[in-house]
Amino acid sequence: MEEPRHNKEREILKLVSSFQKERAITALMDEYGEEIKRLVYTYVKNWAQTDDITQDVFVTLYLKIENFRGESALRSWIYSIAINKCKDYLRSWHYRKIKLTDEIIKVTRSSNQSTPETELELQDKKSELSQLVLSLPLKYREVIILFYYKDLSIKEICSVLNEKESTIKTRLRRARESLKKLFPAKEGSEQLGR
């Protein structure tokens, strides 16, 4: 049977208090590495950057873990560090340059290399909702991701994003509405296509 997460968190914090930070970080990577990397991807949508930011997150954890006071759950604290790193990156010049380059490539590809296979890929029903969520503006995307994909409660989202409960609730409602608008349009276009 898998050990409950809070037990593991307690073990990790014990390692920190006994000056075994390296071991604590290894344990944190085992516990949260996969989860954080996927979270980072939903923000930056680029694997190379996801790799770099995920590394940054754990190095920051190594540097700051002694400052963790236990006022929030360890998971929420790690999430807030990861999200801040992502947002820092999205605000950076580097990201804007890459985004521009990606868009140029996308335009070139869509005009020159559109094949039946790629069309099929785009229409893959299984990933339809994920694609739509990832296409939402960041402030709507992140609340959907944290609430539905990462199972965080409203309260936890408030803590992670440092926003008021009412703000989070409003964003969630608007995000759902946006998705609702986008979803039937896609279904309709598919029916038309048939």
Partner: protein, 391 residues
């Protein structure tokens, strides 16, 4: 929409990647960056202390020179031979007392460190490892290094070589684990004549001593061999290339080591271990022996008609078959084609991390094999070969 969103977790995971995204490679990169951070943090301290020390020395020298000149000018030193000699004598006396005191204080330090050693599990484990290898009174010096085992460490100088010298076939099993390197000086090493006082480094991981090396001006295996001698390669570079390849591929290094048969059948150290097993039949005496040495004990016990020692060389855990005495007695009494006095060498073939085959060469002919399994760091004979294959 709400229902669809509730399925987002599974769908998004599959969409992002159906496979694991956070790999060992990510972990290694993070650990490497953390290690670099630690190194960087140490640098300023050194550069901060070093100039101060240099300044202190310069001022001290200046003070002495200026003071000396001034005293000379003021005729404070009388050039009387007798006084000078008696002064020198008293100076020598004082300096010898000072040296004695320094010696005492260094002994105190050594004692203090020895006490520290007892409190440190890693150094204590290392000490026991050395004692198991037959070294008398290993004297603890210090922890020379602590790091996380990564592929970079296993494939880069200066960390790579000790791992090769320790003859660990698949060191990648220790990836991400903390290794502590404990340094000792040892007496009564067979290579003392060649090297003088021997300094050895013992590698401890998770409370287990995984191996050790002689670390004097050059690095050698615990038996005093170089990489080329152990692996029978053309040179260090040849070994290095194949070693790195095996680490990168995460495969066991195809270890092939040769051990000379000793004449008489057991050297003093192995004879001591043999006698210890004969006295209490405990397998703990086998700690630290390489597979070929266990095989030497096997043949010697057979030759000496000592079933107690012979039986003690078999795994008792049941993992590799039950150690049924009647069956082992058959093996003990069976006529062997191997004559221990004519064995020329043992070639160790590593089959996995915990299984080796020893090829025994007699009259320039190989082809006789003995299999050994490693349990709790000790090489033992498996009661049933079929059970080894299962593992």
């Amino acid at each position: 929409m709400e229902d669809k969103l509730k399925q987002l977790k599974q769908e998004m995971d599959a969409y992002i990647s159906p496979n694991k995204t956070f790999t060992d490679f990510d972990k290694h990169k993070i650990q490497k960056r953390i290690q670099n951070l630690s190194t960087e943090n140490q640098k300023p301290k050194r550069s901060f202390i070093f100039p101060k020390a240099v300044s202190a020395v310069v001022f001290a020298v200046l003070f002495l020179v200026v003071g000396g000149i001034a005293a000379n000018e003021m005729n404070l030193f009388q050039n009387e031979q007798s006084t000078e000699s008696s002064d020198n004598a008293s100076l020598n006396n004082e300096s010898s007392i000072a040296m004695d005191q320094a010696g005492e204080s260094s002994e105190d330090n050594a004692t203090m460190k020895a006490t520290d050693t007892e409190q440190l599990p890693a150094s204590e484990t290392a000490k026991q490892f050395l004692e198991g290898k037959g070294f008398e009174d290993p004297v603890y010096i210090n922890t020379t290094e602590e790091y996380v085992v990564t592929k970079d460490k296993l494939t880069q100088e200066p960390w790579m070589k000790p791992w090769g010298l320790m003859e660990i076939a698949k060191p990648t099993v220790y990836l991400d684990q903390d290794v502590t390197v404990e340094r000792f000086t040892v007496n009564s090493h067979p290579l003392e004549e060649r090297f003088g006082k021997i300094t050895v480094d013992v590698y401890v991981i998770n409370g287990d001593a995984v191996g050790g090396i002689i670390n004097d001006k050059e690095m050698y295996s615990m038996e005093g061999k170089t990489i080329s001698e152990i692996y029978k390669t053309q040179g260090y570079e040849e070994w290095k290339a194949s070693w790195i390849e095996s680490i990168e591929a995460d495969k066991p290094y195809s270890l092939k080591t040769e051990t000379e048969a000793t004449e008489p059948p057991l050297d003093d150290r192995l004879k001591g271990i043999y006698d210890a097993i004969a006295a209490d039949q405990s397998q703990k005496h086998l700690q630290g022996l390489v597979p070929a040495e266990v095989i030497k004990l096997y043949f010697y016990a057979k030759d000496q008609n000592n079933f107690d020692v012979f039986y003690a060389l078999y795994s008792q855990s049941g993992k590799y078959g039950e150690p049924v005495k009647s069956r082992i007695t058959e093996e003990f009494e069976a006529e062997s084609e191997i004559d221990p006095t004519r064995i020329e060498k043992y070639v160790t073939l590593q089959r996995s991390e915990n299984i080796v085959q020893i090829e025994i060469f007699q009259d320039a002919m190989g082809g006789s094999f003995k299999t050994l399994v490693k349990e709790n760091g000790i090489w033992l004979l498996p009661p049933e070969l079929d059970n080894v294959i299962k593992h």
